[in-house]
Symmetry: C2
Subunit: 203 residues, 2 copies
DNA sequence: TGCAGATCCTGAACACCGTTCAGTAGTTTT
DNA sequence: AAAACTACTGAACGGTGTTCAGGATCTGCA
């Protein structure tokens, strides 16, 4: 009986439709405009219907959040072509910053928004974060294997690097770098990053 | 005619009462519970009255935001007793992190929340941020004067330090460090900070 | 003292939000 | 044909920020 399966597929279709709509509104209008009611208008169903396919708004946000990581992974996929691990590490940092600027809304939902998604409560519930961070740690470990970062622990250094780059992106996206004069604005973030890389290169 | 002045003082009294109430709710119940209506209940006026003293909710948030910086400044005031500038710099970092943990809601409104406050649009509108950052820059400059950080620009390095420490705090507060195993949780942030300091100490 | 005018405040409304639930059509099974 | 099941919705509940006409009280002047 392929009946249950068809029912199941219809169900998945509807979920996909809702998510697609949520994604459209998220990208077009921004985070705050992704409301159950707006999604309902877009898919031409009543708001109540959405609750037949998703527990609540957070479940929809969680899906967007997962999607954002997929986009990120694709965005940095071409790094594998870089042979030297240190160069790859630096390129990852650059790509990370470029991603934050290109998809600020994605970045927000990935690393900033607190929206009570239970997905950040432990590593099992946030596989994308775990995976992305494992990639970074692997890179740092490779660099160590080449004789770099001799006196530093790879895991800790990974966190240090992540924190720095995220801090930079976060401050920029949250408009906290406007304290700098206008003429410095375009370069200051890049300068800080390059300085960090320079120091890192000598360790 | 002290009449106009008395009117003016009453006006300021009311503004203060509203802010005090907002602050109370903010600390007791959290950011999301600071609503015009909740403030109105607390001060025993109608919601509409609040709009006679503040343009909108953002103006109230801006006041909270300013207050948070005051609390922060007091929190780090005792650093002046530390003679050695590098030690003072390190102590500032530690205090910064301690502040973020002790007053996460303040930290949020200071460095994370985007709420369309126009105060982050340029340096003049965010004097507290400018001042706090000038303090950091001065410290780094002092270190340079002592022969440290020879090859690095003080202004850029200040941003690098700020970014790193903020990144660490931000990731922790937004629950993004839960990807680490439980046994690492208590130490990982401190370890990263200490590693950063160690590297900084050798520059 | 009485009355105009300024001052301060509010009830009610508008347009949103997430969420729930009784109930209604339409299809399928018996 | 009747019963059961499915997919859906209208209307409501309680919440949000904000606006505005109008009511109450207080002030200064005739």
């Amino acid at each position: 009986m392929g009946l249950k399966e068809r029912k199941e597929r219809n169900r998945e279709d509807m979920r996909a439709r809702i998510l697609k709509s949520a994604h459209k509104i998220f990208v077009d209008k921004g985070f705050d405009d992704v409301s159950i009611r707006n999604i309902a208008v877009d898919i031409e169903y009543s708001p109540a219907t959405i609750y037949l396919y998703f527990k609540d708004k957070n479940e929809i946000f969680y899906a967007l959040h997962t999607e954002a990581f997929k986009v990120f992974n694709e965005y940095v996929a071409d790094l594998v072509s870089i042979k030297d691990p240190f160069k790859r590490l630096v390129a990852l940092g650059r790509k990370f910053m470029a991603f934050a600027r290109k998809y600020p809304k994605y970045y927000d939902i990935m690393f900033i928004t607190m929206a009570p998604m239970d997905c950040h409560l432990n590593k099992d519930k946030w596989p994308e974060g775990t995976k992305a961070h494992a990639f970074l740690e692997g890179l740092v470990a490779e660099c160590k294997a080449q004789g770099r970062f001799k006196k530093l622990d790879a895991q800790i250094l990974s966190l240090t690097i992540w924190s720095f780059v995220h801090g930079l992106c976060s401050l920029e996206l949250q408009n906290r770098l406007r304290i700098y004069p206008d003429e410095l604005q375009p370069t200051i973030t890049r300068d800080s990053f390059e300085q960090f890389v320079k120091v890192l290169g000598n360790l």
